[in-house]
Symmetry: C2
Subunit: 251 residues, 2 copies
């Protein structure tokens, strides 16, 4: 069995619509590559009880949990404190991270707001990264990362060697212009029944030039099954009279 | 109190990273406008027990719940059946919707796959829309919509008059180039303490020209409080020596 992953997006700015999320897809692809696929995402507000409750629920249910957001220097950055409470440990200054921040900003400019960024639950390991001096951290099976996409991405690359990994998820895609889902629904279900370990999906698309069609995607970890399913998907498209084309449609 | 909303995104294609979500932000903004703000989003896979359990949990916790995805004609489109089970009612053919689909496709082409798109839980009301013949539906406090963004948006406009509404959430934003969060953290917290009913956030940004800064956003339903907080936010930026500019930064 592949290890399972879940993501908690902590941020009023996503729930209010101010910000378009740019982290979910990056993590979904990265976790698929290391064979620890994303099984659930929750987007929750900056409310203590909600954050603590969600972390407790998710860390028990999934092999590893990621959080994004809420680790900056302002009053609404309460993620570290909530993770500490979820693990039942005190929040304290991480001396090594504090020293790095102090060197970076200078002693005069290492204000109490900036000290917040070196506060971690006792026992946490910092997630250093190339983009930001302020670190994320890992504790138990929970990995706490920044919400700013460039920093989050650097933190994920940094923590990646420490993650639980499995067999990479790969996919085979065929698409056809002019195809309708209803024309292939029964045949596609038969392929799904033959390969229950794969995840088969059909996705209607509309290209920028206005032409419509459907993409059929098989995902999984067993390459032999993927190749078998892909051949059948190609055939079932051809049986409708439309032309199967390998890969995703153009935009 | 404003009514609360939650969104369940049903779709393996978001969790696998195949598809960039384009629905969350649209609904977040739309629900803010009608004063029924989005309080939680869950992205879950196409697994029966997960969908049923999540619907049951969310419809008890929030005033209204939206789902997107899983209402097409293929084997992985199981949302309607799961909603029926969550409400403890049978899934059955909605005669009026079936008649519309039959007229549209013609009797010969109204295949069993297409009939799936007229299946609804008993007692559901269809959400007709201008883009797609296949409807969504509402039952109890749950509104079931398509995953394809153009269809979802049309369905939301169609169901909007039937939704629970409250005082619209509005916002005031000031930003400044060269500003650091740590420089305003304490002053911003003081504004938050003075207006506990508002949601105050600080968001670092980096423009396309490489210049960095911070945007400060006050959100809420009380316009007098918003105006008061906005004036104080303007002042606290000016006190750092940077120039406060009203509104969001340019890209």
């Amino acid at each position: 069995m592949s290890p399972t992953s879940a993501l908690i997006v902590i941020g009023n700015e996503i729930l209010s619509g101010r910000t378009q999320d740019a982290n979910i897809r990056f993590l979904a692809l990265g976790l698929g590559e290391i064979g620890a696929p994303l099984k659930e995402v929750r987007i929750i507000p900056d409310i203590r009880e909600t954050i603590i409750g969600t972390i407790n629920e998710m860390k028990a249910r999934y092999d590893q949990v990621f959080t994004t957001g809420g680790i900056g220097p302002t009053h609404d950055d309460i993620t570290a404190s909530c993770v500490a409470e979820a693990f039942g440990v005190p929040l304290e200054l991480h001396e090594e991270s504090a020293a790095l921040l102090k060197t970076h900003y200078g002693t005069d400019q290492f204000t109490s707001a900036r000290q917040r960024m070196a506060m971690m639950p006792r026992g946490a390991m910092p997630i250093t990264n190339a983009v930001s001096i302020a670190p994320g951290f890992s504790i138990g099976n929970v990995h706490v990362m920044a919400g700013v996409p460039s920093i989050m991405q650097a933190m994920f690359q940094s923590v990646r060697p420490n993650l639980k990994q499995g067999t990479p998820v790969t996919s085979r895609t065929w698409h056809a212009l002019g195809l309708y889902e209803s024309a292939i629904a029964a045949a596609l279900e038969a392929v799904q029944d033959r390969y229950p370990d794969l995840d088969l999906g059909s996705y209607p698309f509309r290209r920028e030039d206005g032409r419509r069609g459907v993409a059929l995607v098989a995902k999984g970890t067993n390459v032999e099954h993927l190749d078998g399913a892909a051949a059948q998907i190609r055939s079932l498209i051809a049986a409708t009279g439309e032309t199967p084309v390998e890969g995703e449609p153009k935009p």
